[in-house]
Amino acid sequence: MSKRAKSQPSTSAKAGDPAHSLITAKPPYLGFGLGLRSQHYTDILEGNPHVDWFEVISENFMVPGGKPLAILDRIAARYPVVMHGVSMSIASTAPFDEDYLDALVKLAERVEPKWISDHLCWTGVHGVNLHDLLPIPYTREALDHVVARVHHVQERLGRALCLENVSTYVQFNRSEMPEWEFISELSKRTGCWLLFDVNNVYVSAFNHGYDPFAFLGGIPADRVIQFHLAGHSDMVNYVIDTHDAPVRAEVWDLYEAALRRFGPVSTMIERDDHIPPLAELLPELEHARGVADAVLGKGGKRKTAAA
């Protein structure tokens, strides 16, 4: 299976090759954003919330028509938008779902997102989708496999992909490198950007007993273009990435450290469940701005935005 996947990008993705036309310039710094949720449509479109940009779940808009796409058009006309998918299954050994990629390309043509992200995970094999972000062993075989798949997707999208570290609950005794080394190598070999989910790093580090700051230190600083902040649930012996509560203090601490290491990076709060009114999320976003200002100084954002 991996042999098949490896063969997919072999005809291109090389500088100098006429087929090599990926947009590889670093995407712009966007400031402080939120995940777009249907509960907030009216408040966003009828108000003028202090939100710099929105991240949309790609699959929510990969539908034939109707209100979702009509709303998205209006949001995209007013705000920078980033597309964030949950079903690319970049690490799966199943053949790519080319229909899915076609739909993703079509949506990107409509939305003109600043970048397109998904997760470093797999979601199913044998034609089944488990609709979860499943972990992989960090082996050289898996790395070669994912590298080949990222090349394929980047060719299909015509741009560098952005990949997010997921929360994991299990680790594999066959892993040959830590997660951050896997991610670092993946980015180096494919040119993909990284979405550093601060909460996911905290969750995985807690569950597996490693130092989240070691993870942070192992990620190449120049590849990170987005932060996710979210809340998690404490199950005493482990924590679950539930995205249903405010960001916790320990995640804010890690965010501070991430800002120190990566500098100004587009930041957003990702709430997927128990979604409060927009007015309750905005102070949390303001808090993120405050943390960034305190670490970087108010000018840091502007300097990078103009770069």
Binding site: G66, T93, Y100, G124, V125, D132, I136, V170, F172, Y238
Partner: protein, 261 residues
């Protein structure tokens, strides 16, 4: 073990409860690998129960949370998802409920689910133009008999044998639903999207007949003839025109086809 074998084994662990993958896992910092694997197993079912519930809010309300969870879990076990987009996961629910022996004596469940599926499908159906009364203003009176219409592509007609539509309305309004009942004749429920709102309406027999005729490409003249056969010649054209106006007002038609030469 190759990555593909490992993924197949991990998937079996989630779908079938097979524990073989445990030998490749390490214990967590403070929790056993078995319990940590269960995080994935539990999340799989809970997430998909949510997906089914979000697509079938009135069915969930009708059954109550416990019974709904059991019903959804049965569906999830019988129908693993084959689509990358969870939007389509619950589409098989009406057929599952129709064929599952456990629900054979409760046909209203499948029909309630079918109504909700139709509303969901109308909600994000393909965009299409909507025919309005003003669009027909320029049509010379002599040409009316020869004009035909295209129904809005979001529209679909259900023929429930139960009072599922009445149940849905009561549940949506937050009222106690009446008892489920079998209808003497199947109803004609047309579901469509008007602007951005998915809606439905029960058509009386003459309107239902007209809906079917229009769908078959019948001209307005032919529709008037059939209205006369159905309800008497007196006022047949007026009845047809009244129904047509209602449809134009609520966005049920997409285009008018001019008379063939």
């Amino acid at each position: 073990m190759k990555l593909k074998d490992f993924q197949a084994q991990f998937q079996r662990a989630i779908l079938e409860g097979n524990d073989a993958v445990l030998e490749h896992l390490t214990d967590g910092a403070c929790e056993t690998k078995s319990n940590l694997l269960n995080v994935y197993r539990d999340a799989y079912t809970l997430r998909l129960i949510d997906v089914v519930g979000n697509d079938h809010e009135q069915l969930r309300r009708y059954l109550g949370m416990d019974d709904f969870r059991a019903l959804a879990a049965g569906y999830i076990a019988a129908h693993p998802s084959h689509h990358p987009n969870a939007r389509w996961f619950a589409r098989g629910l009406p057929d599952y409920l129709k064929s599952a022996e456990a629900f054979a004596d409760r046909p209203e469940l499948a029909e309630l689910a079918a109504l909700e599926r139709a509303l969901n499908d109308a909600f994000d159906a393909e965009d299409a133009c909507v025919l309005r009364m003003a669009d027909l203003a320029a049509l010379p009176p002599a040409e009316w008999a020869g004009v035909a219409f295209v129904r809005h592509p979001s529209a679909t007609c259900l023929k429930p044998y139960t009072n599922a539509a009445t149940l849905w309305k009561a549940l949506k309004a937050g009222d106690d639903p009446p008892a489920a009942a079998r209808l003497p004749e199947p109803a004609r429920i047309v579901v469509w999207r008007n602007e951005t709102i998915a809606m439905f309406r029960e058509f009386p027999p003459d309107e239902a007949m007209m809906w079917e005729l229009i769908g078959e490409g019948a001209t307005f003249g032919r529709v008037c003839e059939m209205m006369a056969v159905f309800g008497g010649a007196d006022g047949a054209a007026m009845r047809a025109a009244g129904i047509l106006k209602t449809w134009l007002d609520v966005g049920l038609l997409s285009r008018a086809l001019p008379p063939a030469d």
